[in-house]
Amino acid sequence: MLNNFVMPDLYPAAPEIFLLLMSFLVLFVDLIFGATRRWMAAMLTVITLLGCTAITLVTSDGQTTLTFSNMFVDDLLADFLKLVTYLAVIMMLVYSRQYMADRGLDKGEFYLLVLYATLGMMVMISAANFLTMYLGLELMSLSLYGLVAIDRDSTRGTEAAMKYFVLGALASGLLLYGMSMIYGATGSLEIGGVAQALYQGQAEKPVLVFGLVFLVAGVAFKLGLVPFHMWIPDVYHGAPTTVTMFIGSAPKLAAFAMALRLLVYALFGLAVDWQKMLLIMAVLSIGLGNLAAIAQTNIKRMLAYSAISHMGYMVLGLMSGVVGGQIDAFTAVNAYSSALYYTVAYVLMSLGAFGMVLLLSRAGYEAENLEDFKGLNKRSPWFAAIMLIIMFSMAGIPFFIGFFAKFAVLLAAIKAGYTAVAVIAVMFSLVGAYYYLRVVKLMYFDTPVDSAPITAGLDLRLLLSLNGLAVAAFGVFPDAVMMVCTTALMRSL
């Protein structure tokens, strides 16, 4: 019946709608000018994301608005995460321009897949219903599978995409299974409805916990936590470096949003249960990630294992929200905002680290081995310094943003009474320091094996410099980003 139809409020979803419409334009432009003017698709993609930024900024009113029959939410947290996502994607596009052009990969598909993956992330970030979450997740994942295999002739890329797809599909299955169990127990797919049912205590605990296990497994897969981390090294290694950079940055924000929406917003009542699961996975990730990274000779693989350990640290914040079953708003905001801050800091560092790999690569040459960093200080003191900043930041040494991220997370963990876990975590960060230091050693103490001049374009150099300086500047003045993270979370819980 038409008169029963109520037009949903589209306003909160304006950025998503804009992006979708623009993606059609990109599609057409690529169809018409794709062969001759490839830069047009790239330019349009960046314009789209800038447009999304503007729309998100304009429509952000700090209020929590639900729309599409309570399936979609627009709150301050979503706005903030989306803005960081746009920024990360734009940075990735600028970083990748020359690399993709040199390899003939700057096709329309690349930009479209990036746009759809971004759309998927945005939907995940704004999901207020299990189905919306799943929809966003699949849109993002499927686009990413395609992106990993974007270089058709690369067997390594294809293999990585296969692995990613098979494991990713399995994880999606687990997630769906978990969701269905929770639906069975609570009778609701809405995040608010599930929380309500748990609060009233009508749901059956065994079914809930059973579902929770699967849900946590699905989330852990997306975050890349041990023991669901197997795909990370292979995908990071096999994908073209720009795609690795993409996977290593913005999707972490979406995965964080997914963890937060599912575990905190929906299943806060089961926090005591999932905190224990996360605890084990966090410790394992920090341990295995840092140990395995030492053995790597390929920097993409090294950064993959480092990503595993970083996500472990992030989860350390995520699991510290509820202390001894007592719900205390201050502790919760403190813990979750530390995890959010960690994710944002990590995305910034990760972009910079892969940017360095792109800087050293050139047409027909992949600078993806640690050896390629040898003697960089002789070739370019400036970029050696930028890499030094990023590596020390990842190792958690002050004055860089990585230190304050670790600091915030450790503080949350100790506040929640996990002092022993915090000690273990810092001890493993000592292990981690070793391989970051090794990169610095290669750059500063060794003589170059590769003396080719660095040919990267001005855009990459400029962005990389800014990226590195931001890692340092947000370390000297960490207050602003921390406050934004805290405010975004506080106003959205």
Binding site: F403, A408, L411, V426, V440, D479, M482
Partner: protein, 491 residues
């Protein structure tokens, strides 16, 4: 409210390093003079800290306060008392000398070399000024970065191993300290102010744990036996300037940490575990003294002698009497001068011979009389000869130790024999005797620049040995206050 003097002491060298990096190593003359200008400026801004210091006050002076991380109530809180003030001056002075010492010797990447030392200098000033736990930690750990680069990039053949060992050992300690700092923050109800922590009441069990966390951190830095093994490696491999800064300043950071953190924050644990620290200190003094005796490498010998001397410092702190603590502080400053001078002397010889082995030398006095005079003088100071600064600190600590317990004092006093034995035996083999080989015969005596550096240190050593009053005067009130504070139980 006073001025921004402490901020200047920190940021003048650090920001001054930026143009030094910028100029680049190609323009060597400009880089040298610019670095010297920055280092001298960095030293000059610290002078008002001494002249404007009120020695009658025991509290913090030149305090600066500004919010830094409001989220965790972390403040940019600086201040100095009589304990920390001398070290800022010492550090800034040593930086000038290090720049001069690297004038001609460093040929590779000189701008980065000078810049790294300037950054290091500012960061270490920050450690001595910081009154906020996080600020302290941030400076403490950030100072590892330039030192890591200095050892690894300009060091000897085994520099990579030494640089890693240095970094990871020190990081191991400081990470545990970070956990302790966060614990204190939560326990104190949300304050990172060190002075608030001084007043915080803590139970015995947490006190012990915090003490251990701090101990690991500071013991590695001092370094105390048995976590001292990174130091000989780092010293041997580091370039002369690196050794000088390590010995003169970086080692003091650990000892300073004991006075600023361990003693006042956890006094009961400090008293309880004092026998442990005293034993470790005596082992450092005696056992490491013997180890120094058998070294064949001059830098290694001085490194072990440093450990032995630092054993005196920790001993002085944990006997809890005025003369002991003040003696330890005097010993720290004196060791700053003497060890810097000793490493510079070895550097002078190394620049000419490219060897640090005692066996390669002999009869240096015949070819380098001016140098030999200075070297012998500093060696005397190193072995604690009266009228040099080395004597004052050791004597005070021994007096304090005898007051505390005769046998502890007796054991500590053996250093007067051991120190003399290893230092003078080295001098005998290197400086005196006939010219050992053709290389020694070709040695040229020190030039005016080297003479200036060593001469300046000689004046300091002598002045402090003859008239230590200006040094003890400024620290008297603060030490008195510290001991009163430590004597009160916090349980």
């Amino acid at each position: 409210m006073n001025s921004q003097l402490l901020s200047l002491a920190i940021w003048v060298p650090i920001l001054g390093a930026v143009p030094v990096f910028w100029v680049g190593s190609e323009r060597r003359t400009l880089v040298r003079w610019l670095s010297l200008a920055v280092a001298v400026a960095g030293f000059l801004v610290t002078l008002p800290l001494y002249t404007g210091f009120d020695a009658t006050l025991s509290g913090m002076q030149f305090v600066e306060q500004a919010p830094w991380i409001t989220r965790f109530n972390v403040q940019y809180l600086l201040g100095i008392d009589g304990i920390s003030m001398p070290f800022i001056l010492l550090n800034s002075l040593i930086t000038v000398l290090v720049v001069l010492a690297g004038w001609e010797v460093i040929e590779d990447k000189q701008a980065q070399y000078m810049g790294a030392f300037l950054v290091m200098s500012g960061l270490m000033n920050g450690i001595f000024c910081a009154l906020d736990g996080v600020l302290f930690y941030v400076f403490f750990e950030a100072s590892l970065i330039p030192m890591y680069i200095i050892i690894g990039a300009w060091g000897g053949p085994n520099r990579v191993y030494a640089a890693f060992k240095f970094f990871l050992y020190t990081l191991l300690g400081s990470l545990l300290m970070l956990v302790a700092l966060i614990w204190l923050f939560l326990e104190s109800g949300g304050s990172f102010n060190i002075l608030d922590w001084h007043q915080l009441r803590i139970g015995m069990a947490p006190q012990i744990l915090i003490f251990i966390a701090f101990l690991v951190s500071f013991a590695v830095k001092v370094p105390m036996w048995p976590v001292h093994t990174w130091l000989p490696d780092a010293h041997v491999e580091a370039p002369t300037g690196g050794s000088v800064v390590l010995a003169a300043i970086a080692l003091k950071l650990g000892a300073y940490g004991f006075v600023r953190f361990s003693l006042p924050i956890v006094p009961d644990a400090s008293h309880h575990l004092a026998p442990l620290i005293i034993s470790l200190s005596l082992i450092a003094v005696i056992y490491i003294g013997f180890v120094a005796l058998v070294q064949t490498d001059m830098k290694k010998l001085i490194a072990y002698s440093s450990i032995s001397h630092m054993g005196f410092v920790t001993l002085g702190f944990f006997i809890f009497n005025q003369i002991g603590v003040e003696g330890a502080l005097v010993q720290m400053i004196s060791h700053g001068f003497v060890s810097a001078a000793m490493f510079l002397c070895v550097g002078v010889m190394y620049d000419r011979m490219h060897s640090r082995m005692i066996a390669d030398y002999g009869g240096v006095v015949n070819t380098m009389p001016k140098f030999a005079a200075l070297f012998v003088f500093f060696s005397m100071a190193n072995s604690g000869l009266p009228a040099t600064s080395g004597f004052v600190g050791e004597f005070m600590v021994i007096l304090g130790a005898i007051k505390f317990n005769f046998w502890v004092g007796f054991a500590a006093a053996t250093t007067l024999i051991l120190g003399a034995a290893y230092t003078l035996w080295m001098v005998k083999r290197v400086v005196f005797g006939d010219v050992a080989n053709a290389h020694v015969a070709e040695l040229k005596d020190i030039g005016s620049r080297e003479l200036l550096v060593l001469g300046l240190l000689a004046v300091c050593v002598l002045a402090m040995g003859l008239y230590p009053f200006p040094f003890t005067e400024v620290m008297h009130a603060s030490v008195d206050n510290l001991l009163k504070h430590v004597a009160v139980s916090k349980l």
